[in-house]
Symmetry: C2
Subunit: 180 residues, 2 copies
């Protein structure tokens, strides 16, 4: 990253299946950027659902509202010079486009964490695929609910093939390019 001065604020929007590496990348990226004294916050879809978005379920309407609110929040934070790393499955192209409109295309970096479903299922960091198999979770993206492949993401990361550090370098290069 370029020096210690506070740059223009941006939103890095990580989209992909559960288990595709969004949270891991988000946490590591935040730690890296904080060392440059960036005011930055992680908005993790799962965490938001435990608090601010506790009123939402997993219906299509609620998923849409989940994205809308997270985008509005990212916009508000960016306006206050705080950058955002948003990690949400965000399965629908229209909703991601809506998020981009709300936040502004100049400060929206869409990162597609592309990982085959079979590998996400093997990893199953949060044990969610197991719960789907047991029938305790319905409407799970990639299984019983659609994930629409991003049509034109800023970055397309094959997270099953690239190392975490390689992914982080690509994201940080994109941030640098965006801020130049």
């Amino acid at each position: 990253m370029k020096g210690n001065s506070t740059p223009k604020s941006i939103t890095i929007w990580l989209t992909g299946l559960s288990g595709s590496g969004k949270t891991t990348l988000a946490q590591q990226l935040k730690a890296d950027l904080e060392t440059s004294n960036w005011p930055i916050i992680n908005l993790d879809g799962d965490e938001l659902r435990k608090g601010i978005h506790k009123d939402l379920d997993f219906s299509d309407a609620s998923r849409k509202e989940n994205i809308r609110r997270t985008a509005e929040l990212s916009n508000l934070l960016n306006d206050s010079k705080i950058s955002v790393i948003a990690s949400l499955i965000s399965p629908f192209e229209a909703d991601r486009q809506f998020a981009k409109e709300i936040i502004g295309s100049d400060r929206f970096i869409e990162v597609f964490c592309d990982c085959p479903l079979s590998i996400c299922q093997q990893r199953d960091v949060k044990g969610l695929y197991q719960q789907v198999n047991e029938g305790t979770i319905q409407q799970f993206t990639g299984i019983s609910s659609t994930y629409e492949i991003p049509l034109n993401p800023t970055l397309h990361l094959k997270t099953a093939e690239l190392s975490i550090s390689a992914c982080l370098e690509l994201i940080k290069k994109e941030i640098d390019d965006r801020l130049l």
Copy 2:
């Protein structure tokens, strides 16, 4: 304020009638604190309702949900070392107590902006009391909806009697005391 280091993050929660001075104090306080390199954000009830909270109306249930979400957001921001100035009418004692629980009493500073209704009506900065008179706004706090006086606020500011700078000094002294 004490030096330029980033202190523990806190939430300054301004409660009071529309026109009692919350927004004015919030904006000036943010400007003052930013000069000390504080990561700080204004959460203004009216602004939130235009974006993140667009789905909420002015029923008691929605007012309660408005406070819950704002408190959860403040908590999330404080956890990320970002301080918050929240300006919401927040008319009900139980909801303010709930906000305090969510955010944590150690970092919650409740500031009661106490201004007689008659003076708020005279000021009518946002033209809302006029709209109430014309019947275009229903359920307006202080007129057709209750404002419950805070039972035990951290600060009780008589904003019709004190100058803005005097109010700001009292708030900043409280912040300093809290962070010592």
